[in-house]
């Protein structure tokens, strides 16, 4: 499978309709594993990394889940292509920086990706739309068990799976979800939520911005510790916290609708106006405005069919995606023009925001108790 076919289709997890997908964009579970008696990738010399790669890659490609997979050495991918994969959240920024001795194997649906020789010898991750941590876990668990019958993983009875960084030792599992929380941000409640969550030993970070500045009102929440808990305990804890945050987000939106509706109409109106008419737009501004439009779709100000084009724009307006879609090398200014152009094009089919339709949110969300993915 070629890179171009990956680029041309959005991954299933992005356009899928998992539970609570309005607020939980995606769920991901990642396992870190290493081979016994081999230096970790950060310490191993190139020759050893290549040997490890040659040992691991065929076993991954042979997995039934990886039929017709995308399998490439990172040194064969251009910097731009790697950056595109990062923007799609298919590889980590660290992996994109790697060259010789590292590889990526990914399934066609883009729900399963295996990074070879990133920080650890093997980083397997599964992504799902919405809140589906358990499902994502099941898939990684399955291929982990399949691979361990062919490869001997470094494991200590007391410390668990041994990883390059001690922060991953034990289960080697990082479970995370990407949340869209414009209600909490607009209500200025987000800091409280972040602090409360941090106290429980979970990590929350803004997805793109610097420090606490969140771009696009997107936040990633994940477990911080990997040792001393069972995998399913970590996932239940994370799922419960996310469900609480979902409720809080819905509540915040309700309050905004009832008490600060003018602020809401104003935000949505301005976002719509700027996106429809601007001729230059930086990616940070684009993400923030798109986030408001997405909120507008959630609240009914825009028809539901407009949801997917907005979700796609979140990805397509990223810098590497823009560059990939253009024949010439673009500088920052040209990218901003192209971004605005693409946005105007997609928003041409958008009706004006229907403020009258901004019904109370009780139809979707807090009234219906979040279904447990047990």
């Amino acid at each position: 499978m070629k890179l171009s076919s990956i680029i041309s289709t959005q991954g299933e997890w992005l356009r899928g309709e998992g539970p609570h997908h309005q607020i939980v964009i995606s769920s991901r579970v990642r396992f870190a594993r290493n081979l016994r008696n081999r230096a970790f990738p950060g310490w191993a010399k190139k020759a050893e990394r290549t040997a490890i790669l040659d040992q691991i890659r065929p076993k991954v490609e042979q997995l039934p889940e990886m039929q017709d997979s995308f399998s490439e050495l990172l040194q064969d991918l251009s910097a731009l292509d790697k950056q595109v994969l990062v923007e799609r959240h298919l590889i980590s920024r660290e992996h994109a920086a790697k060259g010789a001795g590292s590889a990526l194997v990914m399934n066609r649906k883009q729900t399963l990706s295996v990074m070879i020789n990133e920080e650890d010898h093997l980083r397997m991750q599964s992504m799902r739309s919405g809140l589906q941590l358990k499902q994502a876990f099941k898939l990684v668990d399955k291929i982990d068990s399949a691979l361990e019958s062919n490869l001997e993983f470094a494991f200590d009875p007391r410390l668990g799976y041994l990883t390059a960084c001690p922060t991953n030792v034990g289960t080697g599992m990082r479970a995370s979800a990407m949340l869209h929380l414009p209600g909490l941000v607009l209500s200025e409640l987000i800091n409280q939520v972040v602090q409360a969550v941090s106290k429980i030993g979970l990590a929350v970070r803004g997805l793109y911005g610097e420090g606490t500045e969140a771009m696009g009102n997107l936040f990633q929440i994940s477990n911080q510790t990997t040792l001393g808990e069972k995998e399913d305990e970590i996932i239940s804890r994370l799922t419960k916290v996310i469900e609480t945050i979902i409720d809080k987000e819905h509540d915040a939106r309700q309050v905004l609708l009832q008490k600060r509706s003018n602020t809401l109409w104003d935000q949505i109106g301005r976002a719509y106006g700027l996106l429809t008419y601007a001729h230059a737009m930086a990616s940070k501004e684009a993400l923030n405005l798109l986030s408001i439009i997405k909120l507008g779709v959630d609240l009914g100000a825009f028809p539901e069919e407009r949801r997917l084009p907005i979700d796609e724009l979140f990805i397509d307006t990223q810098p590497a995606h823009l560059q990939k879609s253009s024949q010439q090398k673009l500088n920052a200014e040209e990218r901003d023009h192209l971004r605005a152009q693409i946005i105007r094009g997609r928003l041409k089919l958008f009706p004006k925001p229907d403020i009258g339709k901004l019904a109370k949110e009780s139809g979707n969300g807090s009234a219906a108790k979040p279904s447990n993915n047990e």
């Binding site: 230096a39 668990d141 982990d144 494991f155 200590d156 009875p157 970070r205 001393g228 808990e229």
Partner: protein, 163 residues
């Protein structure tokens, strides 16, 4: 105040982490903060950075000039990168790592998934633990015959484990 990483430039970036009431601070100079990816929130893990600095100090306590026999990794390497060299490093630097893992994680013992090749060993270890608890109880109850038979079972398991 000097940078904690390179110890030569003045610190310009001050990071504080508070987890469950425990506070840890790191002071970085401009160059080191860029190198550690502090500007990049997705790539930067404060925990890793603190680990690298705190861990290196802990490991120094464990024993001077230790070098991993398998991969040649040393504690100064750990200090620089915050990561280990190979799985044997966990044994080599076990003393220093112990307290670090305790601070870092919810527990110090793994209770999750066990790979197949280790499952047999894990089951045997569990059984041994149960037997030795029973042995202690038998001795306390002055049940010496039971104690003797338990002691023999434990010996047998030990042989099984090392075989």
């Amino acid at each position: 105040m000097l940078c904690d990483v390179c110890k030569c430039n003045d610190a310009a970036v001050f990071l504080t982490q508070i987890v469950e009431g425990k506070m840890q601070k790191v002071n970085l100079c401009d160059a080191c903060s860029k190198e550690k990816g502090v500007q990049d929130p997705t790539g930067f893990a404060l925990a890793d950075l603190l680990l690298g600095i705190g861990a290196a100090e802990e490991i120094e306590k464990g024993g001077a000039a230790q070098k991993c026999p398998v991969c040649g990794f040393t504690q100064s390497d750990f200090k620089k990168t915050g990561r280990l060299g190979c799985s044997t490093c966990y044994l080599t630097f076990a003393e220093g790592l112990g307290s670090l893992l305790k601070a870092m994680h919810k527990g110090t013992e793994h209770v999750g998934k066990v790979p197949e090749h280790a499952q047999r060993a894990a089951q045997l270890t569990d059984r041994m633990r149960n037997l030795s608890e029973s042995l202690q109880k038998a001795v306390a109850d002055e049940n010496y015959e039971t104690a003797a038979s338990l002691r023999d079972q434990i010996k047998q398991l030990e042989n099984d484990l090392t075989s």
